[in-house]
Symmetry: C2
Subunit: 610 residues, 2 copies
Amino acid sequence: MDAWKTRKTWLNMFSRLPGEAARTPEETARAELNCFLESHPEESCTLSVREDMGEDYILTDTGVTGGSAGILYGAYRWMACRALRVPLPSGKQSPACALRMLNAWDNMDGTIERGYAGRSLWFEGGRFSYDPARIRQLGRMLASVGINVLCLNNVNVREPAQGLISETLDELASFAALLRPFAVRLMVAVDFAQPVREGLDTADPLSPEVQRFWAEKAKKVWEAIPDLAGFLVKADSEHRPGPHTYGRDHADGANMLARAVAPYGGVILWRAFVYNCLQDWRDQKTDRPKAAYALYQPMDGRFCENVILQVKNGPYDFQVREPLSPLFYGMEHTRLALEVQLAQEYTGHQIDLYYMAPMWEELRAEMPAGSVAAVAAVTNLGRDDNWTGHPFAAANLFAYGRFAWDPASDAEAVAREWAALSYALDESQRETLVSLLMSSRAIYEQYTANLGLDWMIEPGHHYGPNPYGYEFSPWGTYNRADRFGVGVDRTSRGTDYVGQYPAPWRELYEDPEKCPEKLLLFFHRLSYGHLMADGRTLIQRLYDDHFEGARRAEELSQKLNTLDLPEPDRKEALERAALQVKNAREWRDVLNTFFFRFSGVPDAHGRTIY
Amino acid sequence: MDAWKTRKTWLNMFSRLPGEAARTPEETARAELNCFLESHPEESCTLSVREDMGEDYILTDTGVTGGSAGILYGAYRWMACRALRVPLPSGKQSPACALRMLNAWDNMDGTIERGYAGRSLWFEGGRFSYDPARIRQLGRMLASVGINVLCLNNVNVREPAQGLISETLDELASFAALLRPFAVRLMVAVDFAQPVREGLDTADPLSPEVQRFWAEKAKKVWEAIPDLAGFLVKADSEHRPGPHTYGRDHADGANMLARAVAPYGGVILWRAFVYNCLQDWRDQKTDRPKAAYALYQPMDGRFCENVILQVKNGPYDFQVREPLSPLFYGMEHTRLALEVQLAQEYTGHQIDLYYMAPMWEELRAEMPAGSVAAVAAVTNLGRDDNWTGHPFAAANLFAYGRFAWDPASDAEAVAREWAALSYALDESQRETLVSLLMSSRAIYEQYTANLGLDWMIEPGHHYGPNPYGYEFSPWGTYNRADRFGVGVDRTSRGTDYVGQYPAPWRELYEDPEKCPEKLLLFFHRLSYGHLMADGRTLIQRLYDDHFEGARRAEELSQKLNTLDLPEPDRKEALERAALQVKNAREWRDVLNTFFFRFSGVPDAHGRTIY
């Protein structure tokens, strides 16, 4: 285990990690508060636990009242408000949903799938390996923003991770105990074929033997970890086993597991990320964004109460710009979890700046009320000293906690709060930092995926441009650019993906004149001469956006350079900004050349296209 | 070490591996001959060694006369001719060059860079690990076709392979001893930075300290292995260290090493595979094929006598169709080795059938007399039970030996000899097998790289089509396809790569009307409407070739199915043929769609382009 230099991101307001004595969230709250009051002698605060309040809390100038977990959330919030000298939130604070989870894609060999901040914080060499102080610091980060569940292993469960609910269950229990004082419960990603691993001939969910296996497995697991949140399952997706292997459907599979864990209050998070990843590029009828709705919508109403279908925000896979998944409109009788990705897989690898909260504001605006029962986010954390690779990427974890608790949060206010907690900048500099965060997504989108044209990214690692990289692949991610135009027609005249949406979305997306411009090439195939609302041609708009996005990335880097950040954050941020400028130029030039070679249309302003 | 089931490829004529008693090639020859005569009681043969004959030999109906190595080569040849009932070669047989080498790109972890026949035959887990019987069988295969040097480790020397001439030198010596009875000497790929690894501050070739280091190193190495052939060096290429690190040139670097090994009769093989692998795709002036000539030609005459510059056959990197490297015309005062690649990196991964000897016939036709002092081939061998993945890929190793010995060999006759030695087929079936081999290169070329349009292959692993996969990469391998045409202009009006060739080649390549059609798009950028010699347009020719190549791949598979091959060869060959058919269709459809999307020109015969 590498030495860790105690960087605390937005927990900088707290002088030190409280001791190990705290065993419950209440004790943690008292320890944290005592620390805080020592360095703020002008303040006083009393904690009152009211068990029936659960996760809720109420703040006053001199006190926090809350439930067994709420007391801790309330204490953190009270301290943050006092430290920042901002008003306390008034009235009872309650989370919008009960399950607010972080999904770690950590492998037991110490790697993290799509990890951009170093190796796993808790796995190495095929086993648990961690610094307990750092895990407690992690628990504190999560609790300070109200995240209450950590799924600790990759959804792609590979040996020896199957052993987490078997041979190494006792180590899992020890790890769970470390996070319990922070009101963070564990969840485990399990392999649907676990029964076969443990000697059965089948994992068929309708087999009584398999049902018995899981019932006994759940009993043992919850005996060891009584507050385990549940199991997460990725089945029949990207070469993972699942019910389809046995001719059963996903309701059969999920419900079988749900019945096994129900006696212990466990939930089954069942990932809806299922599509044909061996598509023939010649096939223009199959359309990957349609896959999940086509599979799950007919099963609506068939899932047990403790099954939650975990749905990525968009129908593809965490692209920069996607419409909301139609499952959120079509599963009225099924509990859904919204899954987002803090790990910047397609959004700049925690090199390019990309603050995600503006996207979550947009999602909220389109999300039907009451459609989400839980939220999950793929973590952006790793063993790097600063936790998140780019020090500002911590803002995404912070904001995720805030939005998970209250989806009506304001992205800019949250950014401001994160900035104020993290860095002692004067107000003008803080506002610069906030503006950098707030503009970052639009900039990245502009040079990589404007008008909803996703997937022009380098296959495999997903950083940098490769506009035809996926064009003849089996992944179902095509732009079909040719000398006449670009895009996939997903209207009723094409693949009819729009048919999965209810009114008014269907009509909006169907018509290129009404379709939101940011999604224009997601839904439509258009000629390069297509006239945009402002009179520009499509091809000129593509060029303009790429030039403008790259220019703004340079501007972002220059503004960043004016900030009096502490070291090493300043150095880390500037190094990444220089790489982002280079990356943005590469995107600009490759995409412009790509479209120029097809269209033959020069830039109207005579700028260089290579 | 996996069990090995004693498959012998073309050594099937020999009943069994002779015992370990033989310590010299002469003793091996006697043991092999005794074995042979036991099963051919109608024959008789006496061996007469004449030391002054070296590698040469003379055959008669009842005897072999030859030098210390020639006696073994002669014995194998005599047995082969007798077994096949073909006339013996008449007169003294002498090799065209003294150094006929196999380059293994084996890593000490057991992997083989660009290996398609399993793991290393002699390395595993960071150390030597082999079945001595299999290594002797390997020695026998090499000796039977006159290959006399094996460079056993990857030219990209990574730890712990630097230890081969240091900590593990004794193991290297034991390995050398195993091959000595087969007249096969070892060569070692060394790291130019070895002095730094062993504690010096520098590897500067002009440093007396470094020169002393290498002199002492050579002394120790040759003490352990007195017949070591020499060192092979890949310097300043694809991120390897080299003289450029110290502001020295390659003559400085190679000569320094040459002086160290000269007292022991050692040679330095210095690879000329040097180019800018971090090219900016925007840069249309830099042209990778020009790199080696530009670097080395000015140094012609400066290399020591025991330096051999190892030059790949073409200026790029073992593509299906390249012109002969201009270095073969421009280095009159430097000894050159011709390097070819048996490992089918770009030529079908030992899945698609690809017999290389027809290419070597073409090379010979263009090669100036006396320009080649040595030959080297990247091996296609691995631990697979059949040695070469595709059982027919063994024909390439066999033919390489024959062509290395006598470049004037006939590709078809050699294929026939290999087929007859390997399989007991009737004459008609044998001729079918020979015709499959002989047509295989043209077929693969037709569906992957017709008209010299290389590099449209999947980046990284190099199997399957990806026409724009390298287009925006730093590797210097671009086709620059757009809506108007395709290709790089390498004439005097373009990058002037043709200027590196003497007459008549320069004039031939300069003019698209005179340029050999197979190289047309290697040298020229042409519009899709360009008229070919037969009146077809360029675009139609591209389509026609892709359709025709895929059709012929299917035909090849069907013909293969008619052969009464023994198992498991038949199964192995048919499985690979089915994959080749699939691969050929993919190439056909991807390339046709790619060019159709750019050109907008439909196929004149109305065939399906997706």
